[in-house]
Symmetry: C2
Subunit: 267 residues, 2 copies
């Protein structure tokens, strides 16, 4: 089992930031990545649909021998983690809890802001994850549905991005949060305009934290690959016009080994 | 065949504006509407994916006895019309050509602007449709990818909408177009901010034109239903959080008869 790959999935290519973080922490592990680009985004779909899609994504990775599943999509990790754990015998980690742990390490005042898609915020997944770790913090959630389209348009430091960020973040600023959790794969790319509004507080991008937690868990479960080659195979359910350009922005290096796949249906 | 319904599909619920227009022109016809909300939007997917999805959508409507297919999705009408015509024996109309005809009726200077998703604009479908009708007009296309998310956020007359509209439309304004074709189901809802930039020119929303052209074609083909009840059945592949609220904004009346469906795969 040790030589089997780590399976990582996302609704699209934003999850390649998690691939980058895992690759950095675990250079010898093989990684199989699935981006469900034919059905993205997940954040605007129903909970039922996201659970079904996530099961199909996981099945694809399990069929490729994944020894560990990483849910890199925040919307999926918010609503589908329990369903996946129930259905598959392989260990599963989502992007929610590692970010929550890091935020709790960093905060001094206990006032923590969380931003994400409407689905992630309204699912209550973050409140639940914070409650499991700590009862004294005050969690302020804010949905920022225009952030993903802004990143995909490439308007990262455009005046529209500043204005949208001000609109969404002003209430969190007023509430004096000292730590802000970026609860979506795309948001770290907007850190410049987010910082303009929120100033010099703590920012948590869970991608890096997932790498740390996964490395520890592989060790604990004796699942490490001591002699792997560190290959990365990327599968996408659709290859759209500019997926490579956007993908490389997230991955931080050229995308080489990628293929288009169709998923089996779960029902 | 006359008593069979008209089948209309879209990637989501924006196509309900076409339902509204067809209902107005043809009060006795039964309508079956399919919105592929589980995979929306189409405008960011590949041409291959949109053709495959559109064939699956059409199959669903043909299986329900549709005597006529209306493609209410501009991205689909831009790239999948020929594939659908080749595959199905039923007559098919898209949203592209009726809008082009109307724009040509209205223009005085022959300088016509077209706005749509990146896919619609870069597909060249509008240039092709204009060429088929007329050779003397100058067509200026502009992709406006943030308009759909703005409408879905409900920021219809927000200062962000004004700023985004200015960014996208200023080049068309500079080029002195006298007619602007709104090449996406969502764009008519932004007409207020679009008019702020473009001023008192002609605006074409193809939804109404599709109703007119469909009515004429049903008559020509002797496919009219002389004694129908004018029922509307709405099928959606996913029922997301606020689909009813947004759907009723497009339909202009309460959404009653709707169901969730799964589509058969075409490959």
């Amino acid at each position: 089992m040790n030589k089997h790959p780590i399976g990582i999935f996302d609704s699209g290519i934003g999850g390649l930031t998690v691939v980058k973080a895992v690759r950095k922490m675990l250079p010898r592990e093989d990684i199989v990545y699935l981006g469900d680009t034919a059905r993205l985004p997940y954040g605007t779909k129903s909970t039922d649909a996201i659970i079904q899609f996530s099961i199909e994504d996981t099945q694809f990775l399990v069929d490729r021998g994944a020894k560990y599943i990483v849910i890199a999509c925040y919307s999926s990790a918010s609503v589908a983690l329990d369903a996946i754990r129930k259905r598959f015998p392989v260990p599963v980690i989502g992007v929610i809890r590692p970010g929550v742990r890091k935020a709790l390490q960093l905060t001094r005042t206990g006032r923590i802001g969380v931003i994400g898609t409407s689905l992630t915020i309204y699912s209550g997944a973050y409140e639940k994850a914070f409650k499991e770790q700590d009862v004294d913090s005050e969690i302020l959630g804010r949905a920022c549905p225009l952030f993903v389209p802004l990143v995909e348009e490439g308007w990262l430091d455009h005046k529209v991005a500043s204005l949208v960020a001000r609109e969404y973040l002003e209430p969190l600023k007023q509430d004096n949060v000292d730590t802000l959790l970026l609860g979506c794969t795309h948001y770290p790319l907007l850190l410049g305009v987010i910082r303009e509004i929120m100033g010099d507080i703590n920012y948590v991008d869970a991608s890096a934290e997932v790498g740390v937690e996964l490395a520890q868990s592989l060790k604990d479960k004796a699942l490490e690959n001591p002699a792997g080659n560190g290959t990365t195979a990327i599968y996408l359910t659709d290859l759209s016009m500019n997926f490579k350009e956007i993908g490389e922005r997230f991955l931080g290096e050229p995308m080489k080994n990628f293929s288009r796949v169709s998923l089996k249906r779960s029902n």
